[in-house]
């Protein structure tokens, strides 16, 4: 139970920090677009 509370506390802390600083949102968005683009080329039926 203590372990789960600790995991939750770390998750809560990281999410709260991100909501307040938004430091990683832009980097995550750029990475997501890039990953999607690469995956699109990889899975294209024309090869």
């Amino acid at each position: 139970m203590t372990y789960l509370r600790q995991v939750y506390a770390i998750l809560w802390k990281d999410l709260l920090l991100e909501l307040r600083t938004r430091e990683r949102i832009a980097a995550m968005g750029a990475f997501a677009v890039l990953a999607g683009l690469l995956f699109n080329f990889f899975s294209s039926p024309r090869g």
Binding site: R5, A9, I10, W12, K13, L16, L17, T21
Partner: protein
Amino acid sequence: MPFTVSRRPDGPAVQGAVEASPAVPRGASAVLSARGLLKEYGVVVAVDGVDVELGAGDFLTIFGPNGAGKTTLLSLLGGRLKPTRGEVRVGGERLDFAETAWRGRIGVLSHQSFLYAHLTVAENLRFFGTLFGLTDLDGRIPKRLEQVGLLDRADFLARQLSHGMRQRAALARALLHDPELVLLDEPYTGLDPYAASVLRGVLASLKDGHRTVVMVTHNLTQGLELANRVAIQVRGRFAWYGDRDVLDADSFEHFYHRVVENGAG
């Protein structure tokens, strides 16, 4: 002010020094016990054969020049570093790096607060308190913040606090789990005289007879004020270790320089 005797039993005498005493053997009542601590980084010996034994209510201040190994020693005593040789016991329990339960017996305050800048003071305490496995945080957090005079700043972001306030908030975090042993590493660094005075009052409240405190500082006056045991560390070793009562505050600076020169020679 004439001094009398020497430094450590196996070391050269400091002419004009005061009587050093060995670690007081407290046996089963020792809260902190360290024997033959050695820490090497390659060829560099940062801590060299230090023995410490402190009971409940003891307040040890460690002085020493830059590079003497004071912070390394504090890290060894707090279990943040593993000694090359020797052992540390807190409450009779050996610091076993495979276990974590003993960490709840130690509170640490560094010269950096290590608070999350974008969390409020109360949120910081709640986070660290949860990591310590504390469940009664609604009662503990206001109590600790009141102790350090920050109850009215509980909802301020840590980055909105002054350096002195952040130090006090970090002290509240260090005391949150009611540790038997409190380790203070240069707590006065960067504080203005007023902030230092406020912090000194809070540190004085730690002398409640139940806690054991070890403080590292360069400030001779502030270090002597609260201590009942004093050590002067030079080149990794305790060049002098004894009771505060045998030291004269007015001439301590002169004595300190003599010990350092002798220990470095």
